[in-house]
Symmetry: C2
Subunit: 266 residues, 2 copies
């Protein structure tokens, strides 16, 4: 089972769009996938048409210990489950702050639930912050994918991201590594996208062997800017159900294929 945190503390860079469409792309290839919405904004939940109303199981129940991980999973398509979130999760950040082992609630919920082992992929959509919800994803996961918009200011936040993953790896989760960067909102044909991608490539090729980045690559599949990807959430559908022939669907299919190919090298 692969456990992947989709993470970047910068807002609006494509975390949710990537979490939802990668999960859907993997499920379409027959993998059993659970998408976990870790953002109190509940955008991933909205995006798959699973707005969490009163009484619905949410990831908050897992944090509060009132439901198990698998009890909170909701089937949204063949091979695709979601554990939705809603604004209750914002309370979790406060409630957890005093708790012992607050960084490991998700990990321990998954480890103690045999049903979870039947999944091929668990994908965590992280909120735009480095708080306790993101840290729970980073201890529950072994892989990190970083969506990144190839803009100048986007690179500035990267060093903070690196520090956090390195800290988590050293202190909380020895198995953590950054598998790669997914270039999102890619404006093809612009100098800026090319320059920033080159800068990123240079940065990654000079990383310390002991850092969690040492084997991170830039995924070959780049997600181009495509209005269809921004429309899909308003229909509560992954891109493949909304507009299967558009550039956004092609790009996320390519990414899913690339992620599946990695299985052979694991």
């Amino acid at each position: 089972m692969r456990t992947i945190a989709i993470m970047n503390q910068k807002g609006g860079v494509g975390k949710t769009t990537t979490s939802v469409n990668l999960a859907a792309g993997l499920a379409a290839q027959g993998r059993k996938v659970c998408l976990v919405d870790l953002d109190p904004q509940g955008h991933a939940s909205l995006h798959v048409g699973e707005e969490a109303y009163n009484g619905t199981a949410t990831i908050y129940d897992v944090f509060a210990g009132t439901r198990t991980f698998s009890q909170s999973q909701k089937l949204v398509d063949s091979n695709l489950w979601v554990i939705p979130s809603n604004i209750d999760l914002a309370a979790a950040e406060v409630e957890l702050s005093g708790e012992d082992r607050k960084e490991f609630i998700l990990k321990e919920a998954m480890a103690s639930d045999p049903e979870v082992q039947k999944l091929d992929y668990v994908i965590f959509d992280c909120p735009p912050s480095l708080g306790v919800l993101t840290i729970n994803a980073l201890t529950a996961a072994t892989e990190v994918f970083i969506p990144l918009q190839p803009h100048f200011l986007a690179l500035q936040g990267l060093s903070k991201l690196f520090e956090t993953t390195a800290l988590v790896k050293r202190r909380l989760n020895r198995d953590l590594s950054v598998s790669g960067v997914v270039l999102c909102l890619y404006e093809t044909g612009t100098r800026l996208a090319q320059d920033i991608t080159d800068d990123l490539f240079n940065f990654l090729s000079h990383s310390e062997p002991s850092s969690p980045w040492s084997r991170a690559k830039i995924f070959d599949s780049r997600i181009r800017r495509n209005i269809k990807l921004a429309e899909a959430p308003s229909f509560g559908k992954p891109i493949f159900d909304y507009e299967p022939k558009c550039a956004g669907a092609i790009d996320y299919k390519n990414l899913s294929d690339e992620v599946i190919e990695q299985e052979a090298n694991a």
Copy 2:
């Protein structure tokens, strides 16, 4: 003197791009403008070429009380000053949490500094959060401009934003009102941008007379998506110095003109 908070807790929607280019546009028309970078990421500072190194005055000094507001201003162009920020400001959020009147530090620093009154505009670039730094902008300012990307998920965060401004108005700053929404990253010719703009318009026209939104309008000037706006920060220049003829410069000039026209109706 007009004091304007450029605010939206959602990340990557154009707050910094708008703060910098609106400030520069107003200064180009002869207004004395001070741009205040309230984000520990320091993006507005970078964008005007004022990265704050050791020893440079920053907005942290104003929060710490070690420098006055006007002592921290740095002239970056004719009529345009910036008070830069850097990562030290992240410490302020923690240090302030116990303080009495922590929501009013900026306001009081400005009120006690006669030099500040010589300015025509103070523009606060807020971080993507509703924490103490943003609250300081909302008590120091009388106006709020909300940059918004006309996407489906962008509307979801709006109610939280409304609650916060209403709460601040009621409890901390009776003079606060939301002047308007600046549509940013506008993808012309797309159904999505048009639909979301219509939804926003309907929302605003049905607001409570007592809410801070009751006279909020959507600025006529919309800022179109334009790669030049994303390139300018890497040169440390507002758009008018970097690429004066591009669509981004035209749009921000229009916005500056529209803001200046408001002076007649004040």
